[in-house]
Symmetry: C2
Subunit: 354 residues, 2 copies
């Protein structure tokens, strides 16, 4: 229990505390001989420097914080866990600590952040899920406190981030659908104050334009980020007479809900109506039918974020750390060419449903 302290170690060695301390920290004004002697005695006695005292003396926190997203919907995202794992990994190389802070509410977020940087408990922060214009980012930029964000805000200049190009992904999705022969492509999105939702919607639109398709407001539905959200949105979208033949969803979770809505209408997803999700979660493989999706390269994002943050804390220029990765289409069974007879099918079924 009672740890061996620097003082004890020092008098055990017959040296001054300061000397021992400098020896442990590889100061150049300690002779190799004594340095070695100290080292040996140190791990003979099992000396471990008290982190708290060291922090206090140096002012360095040797810890970073992860600010949990508040709006982690019912479907608690597995991303958090993966991300933390990677972060922990990156930090463990320096034996730094990882603090997880959980704002009480969305409004509390900025305040929690303020307190955090003021507290000096950490020397860097990682943020998740930025909003379109994110007060936290603005605050951190202003103070110059080291941070990195997973994702990015609409304004992506002047800070470090790691993101997947959701805009491009959605353009690709549209391209794919068009290549398949679709022209009536709808989008199920999420509230665009979340910037990732905004990016992806934007990509959908850009994709439409790039293919000479005109955007139809009735083909865009903003829904909750849950399976039910996707389900309801899909259901509504499909009840129009001129209903779309393909659905792009901002999220796999929604897409899986959309699948259910299609089946509920008596149609078969991937034949009567195509759907493409985004994320590439493992579950997609087991959806009914298996979900085609724009898959994010999840691998080691946490690790990368950690390494980048560390570099920034070391004095690196945040702007040098902006990495944009690509999502890849993984085709499964929920997409296909549009049914030629879709017109007939639609009328039959709508009678049936009503």
């Amino acid at each position: 229990m009672s740890r061996v302290t620097l003082k004890e170690l020092a008098q055990h060695l017959g040296l001054a505390e300061g000397t021992v301390s400098r020896a442990m920290n590889n100061y150049s004004d300690i002779s190799p001989k004594t340095r070695e002697k100290v080292q040996k005695a140190a791990d003979a006695l099992g000396y471990r420097p008290n982190h708290t005292a060291r922090r206090l003396a140096t002012g360095r926190a040797e810890a970073v914080a992860y600010l949990m997203p508040t709006s982690s919907s019912a479907i608690s995202n597995p991303f958090v866990s993966q991300l933390l794992e990677g972060l922990g990994d990156a930090l463990s190389k320096r034996a730094w600590d990882l603090l997880v802070v959980q704002p009480q509410s969305a409004e509390d977020e900025l305040d929690a952040l303020r307190k955090l940087v003021a507290s000096g408990k950490v020397s860097g922060v990682v943020l998740s899920r930025p909003t379109k214009v994110d007060a936290r980012i603005d605050y951190l930029k202003k103070t110059g406190f080291p941070f990195i964000v997973h994702g990015r805000a609409r304004d992506s200049a002047g800070y470090a981030w790691y993101d997947i190009d959701g805009r491009q992904a959605m353009m690709d999705a549209v391209d794919h659908l068009v290549a398949l022969g679709h022209s009536k492509i709808a989008f199920i999105g999420a509230p665009t104050y979340q910037n990732f939702a905004n990016d992806r919607l934007d990509g959908y639109r850009a994709g439409l334009a790039a293919n000479g398709l005109v955007e139809d407001a009735n083909y865009i539905s903003i829904a909750e980020l849950t399976d039910e959200g996707g389900e309801r949105a899909a259901f509504d979208l499909l009840s129009e007479p001129e209903h779309p033949t393909a659905l792009i969803c901002v999220t796999d979770v929604q897409a899986i809900g959309a699948l259910a809505a299609i089946r509920a209408r008596g149609w078969v997803p991937g034949e009567d109506v195509s759907v493409i999700g985004y994320d590439g979660v493992w579950m997609g493989r087991h959806a009914n039918p298996p979900l085609t999706s724009m898959a994010q390269p999840q691998a080691h994002s946490g690790r990368q974020l950690g390494d980048m943050l560390l570099s920034i804390i070391d004095g690196g220029n945040p702007e040098d750390f902006q990495v944009l990765r690509k999502a890849e289409l993984i085709r499964r069974k929920s997409d296909g060419p549009p049914k030629l007879a879709s017109q007939k099918t639609r009328q039959a079924t709508s009678r049936e449903v009503l």
Copy 2:
């Protein structure tokens, strides 16, 4: 940036540091008058005590750690995220910190824990996923360091835990299947050094016995905790001539894989072969067919764990904090009475497959 310090606050007030400190901490030897004066000045100047200094002086860490499970399989469990959320909640009431520590490997786990308690960085620990006999638990019990575990080891005495009764759940699952008419019930499990896997396997066996069924070693398959694991296990189980008519899986993830295996054989899950999972993850609703499962009451487990740990740190007796919750059967579409013609079907299909 430069925080206002106690000394500054003190001389601003014309009081001694110690006095101000005691005033802030509600010592009884401070007159209400000065206490109030101090309070007012404090938040006028925006004084926030330096956490690190306080820690050093008091020896209290005001933080707890969550030891991440190392073996978080590819399917990163969303549990972690939920649990952290709850923990954070519980801690925020006291403004304590939550540290997440990530052991480098399974072997490193005990060592990491040792370092952690030795470091004095936290005043309590929460553990996850105990093994059947868990060295971490033994260690913590011996040292008397406050901790709580999510789940429990085979020996559940002498420490605090929060667990779901997996044994009972599996007995219930067997009962349910038997009531449906099944007698050839197989089990897909996980390596039993993980105690939850052990408990559930045990429950399966007990359920069999309670229903007068004899256990058949060929009906028990230990697989990886992934969809593929469940898929392979189910496939093998179903290739026996006297194959089971029902599968109980230690995990929904496996069960979803098992569903795939059944479909791959050309059978329909829930009719030709029943399967019951465990966990009640949201995805089960969208499996093909929707998965019947023993659902855990996930709600607020993190919060509860946090509150309990806090109580223990406050001096509570760990043995007073052992809570066992029940899992509930949620029926969806993957279970049903056994097919009478199962014999015929099996033969036909096995030819087909071979």
